[in-house]
């Protein structure tokens, strides 16, 4: 059996009496780009900190490539790199000095990738890290995370400090550069609430809410299941019972329905009402996220 890159089962972490993570389970196969989506405060960062042994969970199982971070902390940490949501460096060190310092902890460091990414981000090597912008610090952290070429790259809100142009570059190059070296082996685990930017990049995702896994799906399968049906009628849109429909909206002659699965049967029902126009489109991952979470809210 293939060893999972990440295997979390029944994870619980409480801050005092608040349950930040409340029985979360997820499994990440190696070589995937795995999205971990949740609102602020959903438990994403706490989960990641349990994975890295920066926090000790009260209960549950955490395995990284089959290893227990509690027993094999060094082995686990040598297999992964981590970019936290707030990065910090020694302020007196230059960019060059920081990269050399971080490289000294690693058995392997790819100088070629370092040169390529430093040039692409136009990072000033002789500048002190205290004089870098927030975006540049994030870029430096990303370069430092890619160069050791670990089996697992853990990113916590990696694009939040970056401007839109750099974000695009990040998505197009950093993950590509990382996975290119050993496709099928290098795993990315990325937590974010800026989901639209990762639309094409994510193979599979878990949505976390209030510390629990709400939905885990392949991105392609999610787009096949979560769809929007749009119909226009000759007269006012009929008020009709549509089982399985979420977020039904009527505006004059128009009817818009979101389905979480079973698009075909809802389409058949709408067709039976003889609309003059009918179309179906997949929701984006961001819309799937919003729709899946709003379905959890108790009906007002």
């Amino acid at each position: 059996m293939m060893t999972l890159a990440i295997d979390i089962g029944g994870l619980v972490y409480r801050y005092g009496r608040t349950e930040a993570v409340d029985g979360l389970s997820l499994r990440v196969e190696p070589g995937r780009c795995y999205g971990f989506f949740g609102r602020n405060g959903a438990g994403k960062t706490t989960t990641i900190k349990c994975l890295l042994r920066l926090l000790r969970p009260q209960s549950g199982r955490v395995r990284v490539f089959g290893l227990d971070p509690e027993r094999d902390e060094v082995a686990v940490k040598s297999k992964l790199t981590y970019v936290p949501d707030h990065v910090a460096f020694y302020p007196w060190m230059t960019v060059r000095g920081t990269l050399d310092y971080l490289a000294s902890f690693r058995a392997h460091w790819n100088d070629e990738i370092e040169r390529a990414l430093v040039a692409q981000f136009r990072l000033p090597l002789d500048r002190r890290t205290s004089h870098l912008s927030k975006g540049q610090k994030t870029q430096l952290a990303l370069v430092a995370a890619i160069c050791p070429e670990p089996d697992l790259l853990v990113l916590d809100e990696p694009t939040s400090g970056l401007d839109p142009i750099v974000r695009r570059e990040f998505i197009e190059t950093v993950i590509g550069a990382y996975q290119e070296g050993a496709p099928g082996r290098r795993t990315v685990f990325v937590s974010t609430h800026l989901i639209a930017e990762f639309e094409g990049l994510i193979d599979q995702f878990t949505i976390i809410d209030q510390g629990r896994d709400v939905l885990t799906l392949e991105a392609d399968a999610a787009r096949e299941r979560f769809q929007r049906i749009y119909a226009r009628f000759a007269g006012d849109a009929p008020a009709v019972e549509l089982p399985g429909a979420h977020g039904v909206r009527r505006r004059g002659r128009e009817l818009e329905v979101v389905v979480h699965e079973g698009t075909a049967s809802v389409v058949d029902r709408v067709k039976a009402l003889s609309p003059e126009a009918l179309s179906v489109e997949a929701l984006s991952l961001e819309e799937i996220f919003t729709s899946a979470l709003s379905a959890r809210e108790p009906a007002a």
């Binding site: 290119e180 496709p183 639309e199 094409g200 990049l201 392609d220 769809q227 489109e281 997949a282």
Partner: protein, 137 residues
């Protein structure tokens, strides 16, 4: 050739790439022996994960549309399918059945259907022939 993906279509992204390569090879936009873009640049251009492109190329290879040459890349095959004729006909039947069902629901009768099929077939063959002609001159 230029690829494009549409996340709103609800069709798996890798299948969109597969279908575009198949269509390009059928219309002469890609010729036998021509190289496909390598995985990483295409993934970056489409803003998709390299796994998606790798899966598409894997599928195309298993369908016999392209051939992977280790260390060189992926190339369009010359069209000699390894499958026997009856197996190839069987594979085509599914797609035709789908079109026949659509024709029924759109009230297109047999003669119109056959005329359109013939017209589309000639269209692809013509484009392919023109592409071959350009290659030779």
């Amino acid at each position: 050739m230029r690829f494009h993906v549409n996340f709103k279509s609800g069709k798996p992204v890798y299948l969109q790439v597969v279908d575009q390569v198949r269509a390009a090879a059928a219309s002469g936009a890609l010729r036998a022996g021509e190289a496909l873009p390598s995985i990483r640049p295409l993934a970056e251009e489409l803003r998709v994960n390299r796994n998606t492109v790798a899966k598409a190329y894997g599928e195309l290879e298993s369908q016999g549309v392209i051939e992977a040459v280790p260390g060189k890349g992926c190339f369009v095959r010359d069209g000699d399918s390894p499958l026997r004729k009856d197996a190839r006909l069987r594979l085509l039947t599914d797609g035709i059945d789908e079109a026949v069902v659509s024709a029924h629901h759109l009230q297109i009768d047999k003669s119109e259907f056959l005329r359109l099929a013939s017209h589309r077939f000639d269209g692809f063959a013509g484009r392919r022939a023109r592409a071959d002609g350009r290659e030779k001159t």
